[in-house]
């Protein structure tokens, strides 16, 4: 992005209903154009929010962090440069680069890293903190040749590396990936000496633009895709199983098909990280099952579910897989080596990310894997990630069993041996609650997305509560599947946020949650900050069933109406904690 373009973006007025969101940019140098680029990138990433950048005092990074820790809970971006660790490592200081200064510089860097670590640890307790460690080249402090790494430089880099490792291990802290920055912004093109001298802003415009784009992405990480549907022939493996036979298809170095092997390895890693992986193939079913039964397959056969093999259009297979997963097309990636098939699926599902697997081009295939990994990138793993594929499979089995059961639906649910665990608290226990709020569409009270700072602020309100629901039955655990956020007083409960994973539908968990709420708080009414969205029809249907009406906006359910309309609920309830 050019500076002129960034300026035009930040000058555009925001809409009257745009929600204010502020990001605090902490750095020791004059932030100047970095503010503009960061705000412009955040505006593009968050078109419905009025993003504002706040900054502290020029030249006082420690003080700015300290002041922020005593103030509000804005998300924080910390951009370090060498002079923050010792002014002699900047170009605006003349403290000396002689050999006698070097041990002292190293000593200062050591104490600075310890101080910054402490300040960021404190800041990360209530907000997301994005950290960029020094990106500029070290100045020529060494008496040795430029080609020779001096012990002083190595010690300084080592301490910064150690700081990065410590920071990356702190919840809520996101450290900018140096490797990715190196690819996008060559080291030799980052420093602008004239700008540093004249204004105190040390970055070239190109570097500032690239850095700001990465920082903004880290502040507002895109929602990871939920699932991937893959083709088989010349994609998961090299060759056509119908032509080459089960033993004729290949993946691996020896068969010049290492890219297919790496693709399998990537899919296995995605599955282990909680992504759903399904198969859509135009093939003979028996042949495919035989091929997937090969014991040298890199991805586990059980990681692939469902496997749709037929001679129908691919979009039909994709449609069936989406129904089993119960997810929207825009959260799914479709991969096929045939541009024709990709176009056919894209036409049927315009919001789906449809990618052509670059068969036969190993360099392009590697770059494809990098892109794929990024589409599923997430900040942290949760326990639910490990059981998602399995719980989808069990859920599908459950619905099949219900369809074929001789029992009524009530009797079927009664035999599930369901147990609901309700954790009532007013503190953020871990990242799972926020993850659910920000990725759930169908059973979502109003579609509201929250930053970690906004989440924290809502919980700090008087009488605020957070209700996290977990579920298991004889088919296995679903993990934490629902989150409610609200406030309560003697008369009523006000619910601002309520989401439930689509994996948990049809078990009457939502009914049990409301029953619990009425009983736990002893209130006569529950007030919901409902808003209709394009996708929350499952929630609307639920409200219709228990309140007798589809709400148009904020509405109340009273105890008498709910208890007279709710069906029989058989789940056992376990309460975990109340803070």
């Amino acid at each position: 992005m050019k500076l002129a373009e960034a300026l035009r973006i930040v000058q555009q007025p925001t809409t009257a209903d745009a929600e204010q969101t502020s990001v605090y940019l902490a750095c020791g140098f004059m932030p100047l154009h970095l503010i503009t680029f960061l705000e412009a990138n955040l505006r593009q990433l968050l078109p419905h929010k009025a993003a504002k950048i706040e900054t502290g005092i020029y030249g006082d990074l420690s003080g700015n962090l300290d002041r922020l820790n005593k103030g509000d809970a804005s998300d924080l971006v910390v951009v370090f440069e060498w002079s923050d660790f010792d002014p002699r490592l900047g170009l605006r200081s003349l403290g000396g680069w002689g050999p006698e200064s070097l041990p002292d510089i190293v000593s200062d860097v050591r104490s600075s890293t310890a101080r910054f670590l402490e300040l960021i640890q404190l800041a990360a307790k209530s907000r997301v903190v994005v950290v960029s460690l020094p990106t500029l080249p070290l100045p020529p402090i060494s008496y040795q040749a430029n080609e020779q790494a001096s012990i002083w430089q190595l010690q300084v880099w080592d301490m910064i590396g150690g700081l990065a490792v410590e920071l990356a291990g702190i919840a809520n802290v996101r450290v900018l990936n140096r490797q990715q920055l190196d690819k996008a912004s060559p080291l030799s093109e980052r420093l602008d000496v004239k700008s540093d001298f004249t204004s105190g802003f040390p970055y070239s415009l190109k570097h500032a633009s690239t850095l700001a784009q990465m920082l903004a992405t880290l502040v507002r990480l895109p929602q990871p895709k939920k699932g991937l549907i893959t083709d088989l022939d010349d994609t998961l493996w090299r060759g056509l199983v119908g032509e080459d036979g089960v033993e004729g298809i290949s993946w691996g170095l020896d068969q010049q098909s290492q890219s297919n092997a790496l693709y399998q390895q990537t899919l296995a890693a995605l599955a282990a990280s909680g992504a759903l992986v399904g198969v859509a193939s135009k093939n003979d079913h028996a042949l495919v099952m035989s091929a997937l039964g090969r014991d040298d397959l890199i991805i586990r056969r059980d990681d692939l579910f469902p496997i749709e093999v037929s001679w129908q259009p691919k979009s039909e297979s994709v449609r069936r897989i989406l129904a089993v997963w119960n997810v929207n097309a825009d959260s799914i990636v479709f991969v096929d080596d045939s541009p024709h098939e990709v176009a056919e699926v894209k036409a049927a599902f315009p919001t789906m990310e449809c990618l052509v697997f670059p068969a036969g081009d190993d360099q392009a295939a590697y770059e494809f894997l990098e892109k794929l990994r990024n589409l599923f990138a997430k900040d942290a793993m949760s326990a639910e990630d490990a059981i998602r594929q399995e719980s989808i499979r069990r859920s599908s089995e459950l619905h099949d069993a219900a369809r074929h059961s001789a029992y009524s639906h009530d009797e079927f649910l009664q035999n599930l041996e369901a147990e609901i665990t309700l954790t009532l608290t007013n503190e953020i226990v871990d990242a799972r609650a926020l993850e659910l709020i920000n990725k759930t569409n169908q059973f979502n009270l109003n579609g509201r997305r929250l930053t970690s700072a906004e989440f924290q602020t809502m919980l700090l309100r008087p009488n605020a509560f957070l209700l996290v629901t977990s579920y298991k039955d004889k088919y296995g655990p679903l993990g934490r599947i629902a989150v409610m956020l609200g406030t309560q007083n003697e008369q009523q409960v006000d619910v601002d946020v309520w989401v439930m994973s689509c994996r948990a539908f049809s078990r009457r968990i939502e009914h049990k949650i409301l029953e619990y709420l009425f009983d736990k708080f002893g209130v006569s009414e529950i007030n919901f900050a409902f808003e209709s969205t394009e996708r929350n029809s499952p929630l609307q249907e639920f409200f219709h069933s228990v309140a007798g009406q589809v709400p148009q906006q904020e509405f109340r359910i009273d105890r008498e109406t709910f208890f007279s309309n709710k069906p029989a609920l058989q789940q056992r309830v376990k309460e975990l904690a109340y803070a």
Binding site: L3, L32, H33, K194, S195, T198, S199
Partner: protein, 81 residues
């Protein structure tokens, strides 16, 4: 309006969006309230980016009106008459 001048007007419009084309060509740091040192730095960066040139720091102090910025620009791009 010559092309160089028109492009410079666009640069000014990016930095001082409240000014119209005529006001821009008459503008100076005394007539535009928010033309401070930071605005000068931003203006220099936008001009450098637009014209692919580097303006030396010693020229900054002369860049206090549209006409003077245009003079600097003509010198640095070799477009002076």
């Amino acid at each position: 309006m010559p092309e160089l001048q028109a492009r410079l007007v666009n640069c000014f419009a990016t930095v001082f969006p409240a000014l119209d084309e005529n006001e821009i060509q008459l503008s100076s740091h005394t007539s535009v309230a928010n033309w401070d040192s930071l605005a000068t730095v931003t203006l220099v960066s936008v001009v450098e980016e637009e014209f692919g040139i580097s303006i030396p720091a010693e020229d900054f102090e002369y860049m206090i009106s549209f006409d003077l910025v245009l003079d600097v620009l003509k010198r640095r791009t070799g477009s002076g008459s």
